[in-house]
C-alpha cells in the first residue's frame, strides 16, 4: 500500500477516455465483444474500436430503447454487447427495457454509461443523472461499477467482458485526476488506499479523489484514515466494510449520486445488519443539479474535498 501522503495525480484524464481505451483493447482480445451506441460515439470515445472493427459496431441512432433490445438479442446470439450512451439515457429512459429484456432475461449485456453526475457540467440537470446507481443496483443480478479514474475505468471496461452477466459501468465527462495503480481492479473487491483506526472513508467514482485529498488533510492532523475505494457498488465488498469499521468505529461514504440509492445507502444497509456505527454521507441530498462548471457544482452540491473532510470530523465526534 502506498503512503497516502505520496499519492498524486499523474495526469488529468476523463474516465470516458479510459473507457474508450479499455473497450478497444478488450475488443482486440475477445472477438465476441461488439459495440452499440445511440449517436454519441465521440462522447463515449468509441472511435478507435469502430475504426478497427466496423463490422462489430452498431449505430442505433437516438433510440435507446431499441438499443437495449438489440443488445439483448446480440447476447442471445452469443455476443458480448457493450451498449453505450449517456448515463441518463442508459438507465432511467430505458429502465423497463433493461429490466425485462436484460435483467430478468439474464442477458450478458454491458451497459456503459458516460456523463454521469453533476460533473457533466453546463448541460444541466436534464442530463446530470444522480439516480442511476440506485436504479441499476435494484435490478436483481446486475453488477454495478463506478470507477474513480481513467486508468480504473480502462481496467473495468476490460474486466466486465469476462464477467458472465449484465453489468452497469458508470463513468463521467470531465478531465479528472488519474492516480490508481494498474492491475489493482477486480470486480467486487474494494481497494484499500490507506490504513487507519480513527475513521473509515469509503468512496466511489470521481469522489474517490476528493476522499484521497481529504484523507491527506486528516492524516496531517494526526487522524488515521482507513480509506477504501468501492468501485463496485454491487456486489458490495461487505468483508472490507466490516473489517474497516470494526477498527475505526465510524464511517463516511462519498459519491457523486443521490444519497438515496447510492453507495452510502448500500454501506448503511450492511452496517445496520452487522455492526451499527456512526455514519456520515457525502452525496446529493434529494435535489437535481444545474448548469455550471464541474468544480463549481461539486462545491455547491456538497461534494467537495472540504465536504469529505468535514463529514469525517462529524463522524469522529459521534463515536
Amino acid at each position: 500500500m502506498r503512503d497516502i501522503l505520496t499519492i498524486e495525480a499523474v495526469e488529468k484524464k476523463a474516465t470516458r477516455d479510459g473507457f474508450g481505451q479499455g473497450f478497444h483493447e478488450v475488443a482486440q482480445s475477445n472477438s465476441d465483444v461488439v459495440g452499440l451506441c445511440a449517436d454519441l460515439v465521440g462522447s463515449l470515445k468509441m472511435q478507435a474500436f469502430i475504426k478497427e472493427f466496423p463490422e462489430r459496431f452498431f449505430q442505433v441512432g437516438i433510440a435507446e430503447a431499441n438499443m437495449m433490445g438489440i443488445a439483448a438479442g446480440l447476447a442471445i446470439g452469443g455476443k458480448i454487447p457493450y451498449a453505450c450512451t449517456f448515463a441518463n439515457f442508459a438507465t432511467g429512459r430505458v429502465y423497463d427495457q433493461i429490466r425485462q429484456s436484460i435483467a430478468y432475461s439474464h442477458k450478458n449485456v454491458k451497459i456503459c454509461a458516460s456523463h454521469a453526475g453533476v460533473t457533466l457540467g453546463e448541460d444541466g440537470a436534464t442530463h446530470q443523472i444522480l439516480e442511476d446507481i440506485g436504479l441499476m443496483k435494484m435490478l436483481p443480478g446486475f453488477t454495478v461499477i463506478n470507477p474513480c479514474d481513467a486508468q480504473q475505468t480502462r481496467e473495468a471496461a476490460i474486466a466486465i467482458a469476462d464477467h458472465d452477466g449484465p453489468c452497469y459501468l458508470r463513468f463521467g465527462r470531465p478531465g479528472w485526476p488519474m492516480f490508481t495503480e494498474t492491475g489493482s481492479f477486480k470486480i467486487g473487491k474494494a481497494i484499500q488506499f490507506s490504513e487507519g483506526s480513527d475513521v473509515s472513508i469509503f468512496a466511489t467514482g470521481h469522489l474517490m479523489w476528493h476522499a484521497v485529498e481529504a484523507s491527506k488533510k486528516l492524516v496531517q492532523e494526526g487522524i488515521t484514515v482507513d480509506l477504501y475505494n468501492f468501485h463496485t457498488i454491487k456486489p458490495l465488498d461487505e468483508e472490507a466494510i466490516l473489517e474497516s469499521i470494526a477498527k475505526t468505529g465510524c464511517v463516511v461514504t462519498a459519491e457523486e449520486h443521490q444519497r438515496n440509492g447510492g453507495l452510502g445507502d448500500s454501506v448503511a444497509q450492511t452496517i445496520i445488519r452487522h455492526n451499527p456505527v456512526p455514519m456520515e454521507y457525502v452525496a446529493v441530498n434529494d435535489s437535481f443539479g444545474e448548469s455550471g462548471k464541474p468544480a463549481q457544482l461539486l462545491t455547491k452540491y456538497g461534494l467537495g474535498i472540504d465536504d469529505v473532510y468535514a463529514a469525517a470530523k462529524r463522524a469522529l465526534t459521534r463515536k
Partner: protein, 280 residues
Amino acid sequence: MADIAELKRIASQVRRDIIRQVHAVSSGHPGGSLGCTDFMVALYFAVMNHQQSFNMDGANEDVFFLSNGHISPLWYSVLARSGYFPVKELSTFRKLDSRLQGHPATHEGLPGVRVASGSLGQGISVAIGVALSKKLKGDTQTVFVLTGDGELQEGQIWEAALYAPHNKVDNLVVTVDWNGQQIDGANDDVLSLGDLEAKWIAFGWDVMHMNGNDMEEVVNVLNEAKDKTGNGKPICILMKTEMGMGVDFMTGTHAWHGKAPNDELAEKALGQLEETLGDY
C-alpha cells in the same frame, strides 16, 4: 408440402390447451391466443427449421420471438406439442413454482423461450439483435417475431421499424396480429393505427398480407416470406385474425382479451374444439 389437415388437427388441440390452461387458473389471455393459433402452429409445425433440443443461441436454426407475451398459453401449448417440454407441464400454467409464468420468461429455464416478454414493444428489437448476431456468424437462418396490433402503439416498435431497413436486416420476418382489438376496445377507438400498410412501407419494409385464420394461406405466405429473406429488406406480414377464433362466443370481440371462461363456458368452448392429440 405441409399437410394442412394435420396442421388443423394440431390447431384444434392447441386451442383446447389454451382454454384449459386459462380456465384452470381463472386468468390469462385466451382471445389473442385463439386468434394466433393457426399462425403459430404453421410456424412451428410446417415453416420453421428448428431443432428439437433447445439451444439458447439458436445457431443454425430459425428462431421465434413472441413480443406480445400475454398470449403465452398459445406459445406454451405449441412449444410443448413440438416437444420442447412435457405436455403435462401445461397444467402448471400461472401456478406457483411453474416454468410457465403468466408471461414468458427465461428465469425458470423453460425450453423454447429466449427472452422475457409481456411489457410490450420490445420483441422486434430483440429479434433484430439475434438477426444481427446470425449475420455476424454467417448463419443464414431466419428470425421470426410476432407482435400485437395494439402493441404498435409503443414507441420502441417504431425505433426498431426505422433501424431494420436502414441496416438491411433482411433475415427478419415480423408478423403483426391485426385483429383490431385491444384491452379497452377496438384499436380505432383507443388509438387508431391508421394505414398500417402505408406506414410499414414508408419505413422501408417489404409488406405482405395474410388471413391468419386460413391455415393453407398462412403456411404459403410464411414460406413465401422465408423465401424473400436475404433480399436487402426486412419483411412485415400484416396478418388479419379474429380474436377468439375457434370458439363462437369469443370470436371477434375484445371481451375475452384477458378473461378466462368459467366452468360452464369452458365446457361450451371445449365442446366446439375437437380433442385430436389427447388433452394433457
